[in-house]
């Protein structure tokens, strides 16, 4: 029973920790490129900004997936619920 709890907690922490590295790096590069192209062509600013936001949202969703997985592990964990139901039934 404790091993389920330990595994869930450790996995939740690791998921969100490693899952936010990639998107953060990607978003940094995207914004850097957008800034340099804004400096080159300021009159295309609205197109660049809009495309930047759409791209950032797509990159961000990877981090959101990892966040959702860790939230499920902490708050809506089916294995933990099953164990709790068993202990309560005893």
């Amino acid at each position: 029973m404790t091993i389920i709890a330990v595994a869930s907690i450790v996995t939740a922490g690791l998921t969100i920790a490693m899952g936010s590295i990639g998107p953060a790096l990607g978003e940094g590069r995207a914004v850097a490129t957008a800034l340099s192209s804004l400096a080159q062509q300021p009159d295309a600013a609205s197109t660049i900004t809009r495309t930047l936001f759409v791209g950032l949202a797509m990159i961000e969703s990877i981090a959101i997936y990892c966040f959702v997985v860790s939230m499920i592990l902490i708050f809506a964990n089916p294995f933990w619920n099953h164990v709790i139901a068993q202990v309560a039934g005893k």
């Binding site: 009159d43 609205s46 809009r50 759409v54 949202a57 969703s61 959101i64 997936y65 959702v68």
Partner: protein
């Protein structure tokens, strides 16, 4: 601390549950419909107009310009659907200002429903614009080998839309909840402001992505792809030409 407004039960009768999501969604629909009805009661086409009508006109023409910039010709055709998406999600997220309110988009049911609407609307618009055969043929472009991948990409786009909106909203609510137990008084207010900002951005992203998907579905190979209008704030106020 609960995960979503689904867990706030206002009233229960056997199997029927009136939870927070339903109540807040209906309240939102009531506010939006009644507000628009009241404002558009006496529309004026002259230079004298009420400030509420001015506000609505600004909102509608801004959305129309955005739809046009995405590459959709005749934005009036898509304005009801995309405008409703944006206004509903924006108002749902903006209402966090009101105490005791939780955005219904923080529940996976609402976001899944909205994503399903987009999932159904994209083929509908595509078939309406291109005809059934041509639209179905676009799934086999560039080669027939891409057919399963195109179908999978449709499904995963829908899932991504739902989870993205849900994750952003739920995380905002949860961070505020956690911070209220750790450092109350000032810091949760800062996080609420951040939550409002991400809410607005997510509403914009959701509708722009829906517009981009519709544009991809109604774009035919060989038809001219108009470059985005960089001439500024010219809005096409003529009604959409009937085919």
């Amino acid at each position: 601390m609960h995960l979503s407004p689904d867990e706030m039960i206002f009233w229960q009768y056997g199997l029927l549950k009136l939870n927070g999501t339903i109540v807040f969604t209906w309240a939102l629909m009531l506010v939006l419909t009644l507000g628009s009805k009241l404002i558009t009661r006496n529309l004026s086409t002259g230079l004298e107009r009420s400030r509420w009508q001015n506000l609505l006109e600004i909102v509608v023409s801004a959305i129309e310009r955005q739809i046009k910039d995405v590459g959709l010709r005749h934005p009036r055709k898509y304005l009801p659907f995309l405008g409703t998406l944006f206004l509903f999600i924006a108002m749902a997220n903006l209402g966090t200002i009101i105490p005791g309110y939780e955005p219904p988009t923080g529940s996976l049911s609402t976001t899944a429903a909205l994503a399903l609407c987009v999932f159904v609307a994209v083929p509908l618009f595509g078939i309406a614009d291109l005809g059934l055969r041509r639209y179905l043929k676009s799934y086999t472009e560039p080669t027939l080998l891409m057919l399963p991948f195109n179908i999978i990409s449709e499904l995963s786009r829908t899932l991504a839309l739902a989870v993205r909106l849900f994750g952003n909203m739920m995380s905002g609510v949860m961070i505020i909840g956690i911070l209220l137990t750790i450092t109350p008084f000032i810091f949760p207010i800062v996080m609420t402001v951040l939550g409002l900002l991400t809410g607005m951005v997510q509403a914009y992203i959701f509708s722009i992505l829906a517009a981009v998907y519709i544009a991809a579905a109604t774009h035919t190979r060989g038809s001219d792809t108009r470059k985005s209008d960089t001439r500024g704030s010219e809005t096409d106020l003529r009604p959409a030409p009937t085919p």
